[in-house]
Symmetry: C2
Subunit: 305 residues, 2 copies
């Protein structure tokens, strides 16, 4: 079971080296992460983009390109399609965004011919190691799905549970979060949380335990859960998955953790045939490398070890 | 200008000692806070409740009751009404919840005869000192107003700006928060944030600077704001007031700070004639004392030094 990013890296190194196809690879931050992923035995990369520019950027960061497969394609969207097709056909195991805008990148992910769509909605999973919390937290959705319906929330849970399973957490605990712990018809998010809990009890959501609505302290702090009295609850400060009411709540908590707590994190896009790594320019170097490690374990689980 | 709770305590000690009327005072955690508030010259208390029980509880925590005014009233709601009336008539400067349920306590706050209503909506202000942030953050609303309308948000800003002014922050910067920094008609919270920004520019909201929508990193992290490029923005990681989209987003961030970051905090209810201290059973001792200090500076500002 992965309880930290170090555990996750051990898990990665126990499997065969994965391949990541990078769309429009001429980006220094992305190439630095790719280089570190090779050094740490996380993944090898196939670099798709403008070869001259890739070589220039690599030189500027003292990166040795020998042994990397480079596919020369100067037009950005065509490069993205060529990169995603490598994953579609199984030549690569995961797909990563380079120097291309998010909208075009996502269009390539969803391309009907060569993309990675499964027919299910995509969702974003952000994994955190937080100082003071003894296991990884899986947050969703903090970046992609804006106002999930009850049906969307079922998909978010399924997508995120799959990531937990890949990380060796056999029965993750899912906390549908709210400001309160009781169902209140005037707060629709608590009604959804209750419905999700019942769906899990009835076997309509599987592979996990769902218990909500929950406030954040009851979800992540065993002492607070004990103090408040959490008799009869299935989650007592030991949630693995934090399900947010909407993108605003999710994104604000995500940024609160990054900017005020001591954390490590990584994130991937799920609901696709293979993991998609969509780091943002504000993510630091370690976050990009952690995201590749996370992508590698999920790719391994999707393919079988 | 108060940049920390220590600054706030210095500010309190520069003024005359305030009086807090406690509703149903026979509560050990509340009496401990009241005792500390006296020791630190924050406030004296008038204890309203069952005198026998107050004496028993005081004895159990080795609290010396000499010098405290005690008003004996065994019926809880009557005790609350007697306590709030002390504030209503000016004999006390602030009102604090003891061993009474929140609903009854708030009913006493809003009582037409002896309560503290102003005709404006009440809102909750939670003040944080966060390790790594060089000034106090004023969060609203994380506990009281559930789904504020645009008009409610104007009141929340006015209430919170008043608290900032009391803390010596002459022109607080208000960040209406969202997951994104651009207005998107599909995200009503961004439309509201933009409207609030324009209302401030047009002089309809005064005593502060409003700039939104803002993501949390741009609101509280100057380095992130610089990295993302915040040209033309009035807030570049230096927000004082964090305005939340709804109670879920606010409460989740509030609990994220309390349970994962290194913080001090205190909170009061505003929009009333005098500050109301409504700490919850999960607040620790220092939070209760900080809340009394915050109430004292606000009471001072409302009365004039």
């Amino acid at each position: 079971m992965s309880k930290s990013f170090n555990d996750l890296l051990s898990r990665v190194s126990a499997c065969s080296v994965k391949k990541v196809a990078v769309a429009v690879a001429q980006d220094s931050a992305v190439l630095e992460a790719v280089q570190a992923a090779r050094e740490r035995n996380i993944a090898e990369a196939i670099l798709v983009g403008d070869e001259d520019k890739i070589k220039d950027v690599a030189a500027s960061i003292h990166m040795d390109l020998s042994g990397y497969e480079i596919i020369d394609e100067k037009e950005d969207y065509t490069a993205a399609l060529k990169a995603v097709e490598l994953v579609h056909t199984g030549r690569a195991d995961m797909y990563m965004k380079g120097l291309i805008d998010t909208k075009s990148f996502l269009k390539s992910v969803l391309d009907k011919e060569v993309g990675l769509r499964t027919g299910k909605p995509l969702s974003h999973v952000c994994v955190f190691e937080v100082e003071g919390i003894d296991h990884l937290l899986f947050l969703s959705d903090v970046a992609f799905m804006t106002y999930p319906t009850l049906e969307d929330k079922v998909h978010i849970i399924e997508n995120t549970v799959q990531v937990c399973h890949a990380c060796g957490i056999p029965v993750p605990k899912v906390a549908p979060l709210a400001a309160v712990e009781v169902v209140n018809p005037k707060m629709p998010v608590t009604v959804d949380a209750d419905a999700l809990t019942k769906m899990c009890e009835e076997g309509k959501i599987t592979g996990c335990i769902v218990d909500g609505p929950l406030s954040l302290d009851l979800a992540i702090d065993p002492a607070a859960a004990k103090h408040k009295g959490a008799e009869g609850r299935k989650i007592v400060g030991d949630a693995d998955i934090l399900l947010f009411p909407d993108i605003h709540a999710g994104n604000l908590v995500y940024k609160c953790l990054v900017h005020t707590a001591k954390v490590k994190n990584g994130n991937i896009l799920t609901g696709t045939k293979a993991p998609v790594i969509l780091t943002s320019r504000s993510d630091d170097f370690e976050t990009k490398v952690n995201s590749l490690a996370l992508g590698a374990v999920v790719a391994e689980a999707l393919k079988g070890c």
